[in-house]
């Protein structure tokens, strides 16, 4: 028995119903939101990962401006956990600071002495102990493992990811509810034809598939449009960000895998719509004979 009746049936001619085209518009708006939220979260998490990779295994030791770096350098280079320790030249430090402070304003600034420390592979030194020994050798030395700052950024990226997940769930639920609502309306509108299909021996699935297909068509068109719009916004935002010199923030750029994930949004929306329509029909038909 062809229990599921997939495929050919199109007796309900649901594609002709103009009454349910608003579904495409709603799904477009929802897909726009979902894609935007997902895109921003992916950009932040990508940036956080890149920075984490850059900073992994490095420390910066900071000495007061004008201090002699030699004792600190000697102590660091003697430590087995340290692979290399190099002083950052004043020129390099100025280059690091100029995006924040503007070039040319730095000549008279008391720039601290910075030592870039690369840790031996796999080393995890006790920073408190190292800090105490440094303090003894070079008063007022401070160790920055970038952890606090990076930790803040990672937390931000994680929060953005969480928000995106919540947005996606809410948007998916909203889309499913809209499709379910429209499907119930469609069932009522086509009640006579649905009854006839039943009476000539159509299983519920045969009818549900027709509604699922109609919902998929509308959702795919809508979600494709919405996601494309969001992609344009993301591209435009990153173009604006990269052209603005005032942004001293590493660019939240999307990699190809991120774009691939974003491209899944319309397909996910289509699946959600299909499942919502199919489930709604099956549930509602179970209540009639």
């Amino acid at each position: 028995m062809a229990g599921f009746g997939f495929g050919r049936g199109s007796e309900l001619a649901l594609e002709r119903d103009r009454e349910r085209r608003w579904i495409a518009a709603v799904v477009a708006a929802l897909a726009f939101l979902a894609t935007l939220a997902l895109g921003l979260a992916l950009a932040l998490s990508g940036t956080a990962k890149r920075w984490q990779a850059n900073f992994a295994g490095t420390l910066t030791v900071e000495l007061p401006a004008g201090a002699d770096p030699a004792p600190a350098l000697a102590l660091l280079r003697a430590d087995p956990a340290v692979a290399a320790a190099t002083q950052i030249s004043r020129a390099a430090a100025e280059a690091l600071l100029s995006p924040w402070l503007g070039a040319g304003n730095l000549q008279d600034l008391p720039i601290p002495v910075l030592i870039d420390v690369r840790l031996a592979a796999g080393a995890a030194p006790n920073l408190a102990a190292l800090g105490a020994r440094l303090e003894a050798a070079a008063p007022d030395a401070a160790i920055d493992d970038h952890g606090r700052w990076l930790g803040g950024f990672l937390a931000l990226a994680r929060a953005a990811g969480l928000v995106a997940a919540i947005v996606l769930a809410a948007v998916g639920l909203a889309a499913a509810s809209c499709v379910a609502f429209a499907t119930r309306a469609g069932l009522a509108m086509h009640r006579e034809a649905v009854d006839l299909l039943h009476l000539v021996g159509a299983p519920d699935g045969y009818i549900a598939v027709q509604f699922a297909r109609a919902a998929m068509r509308l959702a795919f068109a809508g979600a494709g449009l919405g996601a494309a719009g969001a992609a344009l916004v993301l591209v435009a935002a990153s173009a604006v960000a990269s052209s603005s010199a005032t942004l001293a923030f590493p660019l939240p750029a999307l990699g190809w895998s991120d774009w691939l994930l974003l491209a899944c949004v319309p397909f996910a929306a289509t699946l959600v719509a299909a499942a919502a329509a199919y489930g709604t029909v099956m549930r509602n038909l179970a209540r009639i004979l």
Partner: protein
Amino acid sequence: MIVFQQVGLRYGLGPEVLRDVSFALQPGSFHFLTGASGAGKSSLLSLLYLARLPSRGTVHMFGRDVARMARRDLPGLRRRIGTVFQDFRLLDHLSVIDNVALPLRVQGADETQLREHAAELLVWVGLGEHLDALPPTLSGGQKQRVAIARAVIGRPKLLIADEPTGNVDDRIALRLMRLFEELNRLGTTIVVATHNMQLVRESRHPELRLEAGALVQIAKAA
């Protein structure tokens, strides 16, 4: 094959439109269902073609109690039943051939075969020239023949017709009866609701008569 026991039917909270209806139909039998308009003929037929369940009593179809059947078994049972509805119930946006092919298509039958079969049947009922016509362009008599072709395409064990002679002249009514006789000779169980008493009198088939929702007699014509 079909057994009604103390069947009652009401619509919503309304009064019972069928009361204590009991009868049995043997395989291959031919019955008329008679009664005045509003007596409950269409309601009884709707129980027979499994559009609804009785409010009271039991209905056995092909050996199964319809009230205890799993939902997934309904389509299979309905496929053994062909119905010519009083108002035909053709799908207006589907061509004549697609309307006729519907019962096979919902079973997932082979598309070429079902079209061939539907076309053959339409030739048989004299609509060979109208395969691709849409129902709204047909006359009442033509629509009825489409409805009959659709009712028999699945080779039903039980053929139900609700006032098939209501909208056609006597000549066509007679032709229709001959058609049902022929199907009956091939083994199909037949129930025809009608208030055309002349038709019933001229036939040798027994009559189930409804009066205000009660089955008052099962008579064999002389």
